[in-house]
Symmetry: C2
Subunit: 242 residues, 2 copies
Amino acid sequence: MDSSPGQPPGLSGQLGPSLDDPEYRAAVVDLLGVLAYGELSAFVRLAADAALAPKIGAEAQLAGMAVAEFRHFTRLRDRLAGLGVDPDAAMQPFVAPINGFHESTAPADWLEGLMKAYVGDGVGVDFYREVARFLDADTQSLVLDVLEDTGHSAFVVATVREAIAADPRVAGRLALWGRRLMGEMLSQAQRTAAERDALSNLLVGGIGGSAVPGFDLAEVGRMFARLTEEHTRRMRALGLSA
Amino acid sequence: MDSSPGQPPGLSGQLGPSLDDPEYRAAVVDLLGVLAYGELSAFVRLAADAALAPKIGAEAQLAGMAVAEFRHFTRLRDRLAGLGVDPDAAMQPFVAPINGFHESTAPADWLEGLMKAYVGDGVGVDFYREVARFLDADTQSLVLDVLEDTGHSAFVVATVREAIAADPRVAGRLALWGRRLMGEMLSQAQRTAAERDALSNLLVGGIGGSAVPGFDLAEVGRMFARLTEEHTRRMRALGLSA
């Protein structure tokens, strides 16, 4: 699709990777596949959680967040199709881990649903940013575009703060829930990373002429650690110990 | 908002109703409220049912149907706000009956979810068409616009036909399910009609200078009968006895 020499250099100052490189291409297909199914299932689960809302306005807010995820999904799916790849086939390897995450983290009530949306959105944005560094210009601009389009979080933050103010015991329960969400997410992500070498290499800059050649599980671990730190920072900002 | 003498006459050839008429206005607010909450909750439930899909492509299809409902919702909500009405307050009277319908018709599997989407979409379109006849030009054009935007039904029809071809016993189960859906829908609608006089009058042309003055439960019943006939026709077209 794109291998023009004019694309911006990566962080290391080298030329960016090219979709003409079969290993890089396979990794990008994996990446778009996992992001696409992640967005589709986030849509489905968030929308379902909207039914837990105590008020119509809140239900509509969560529904709006879900619809944003669906827009992301269609863009990622369309890019897969544009690369000549069957989107369903590209998503398939990630159905079990992503559904596994959602099944093990079904919110018990409205606040847990909101927190899940907030945690997922936050980690998603961080992850998109992490991975964008190692991508060719076209894929990078798609990923950054999709990333831009999020950010209904202000509503979640305000609602959770109100709930904690109304009943301080809520904080303990939500802190625990936040830890569980992050734990389950990391557990599924780590299992998936171990099974998808090309994708994992891409995530840590190990494909396409960047600094770290070959599979590096430790580097993947460090990326997960950075995601966890950012998650912890967000939880603290909400007044929750993470 | 609109009471210009240039608006198109109703079926009866009279001038259309005007939002300056307080009774008509109250009925339109009720109508937009029930349609808006109907679309929002259809979105939430359909999206949740997408999780039942056996394949990613099918999940994405049902998700896309749900997103169309959300677009309808935002248009109806924005019109309420444009009329100077609090959308949540306008929707509130219809939350219990609509949620009641969805709770009593939670699909047991993917095919039941599809059928529910199909039945709901069909009855919805018929209902929008019924009511559009008695509206002022602005409200009418909104209702007809929202109506235009539906129609993912081809996918449902093809999938249900395939399932029946693969296992003819499916037809009996789905026929029963279709009857239950319609029965529950009518039951909630009839209860709501009995409680919302102005809305019911509007639905049968009893407000705004048209032919039937005053509340006419029998005329409401005839409208429900027409909706049921059309539903039956669609079920037969699917190869199901309704």
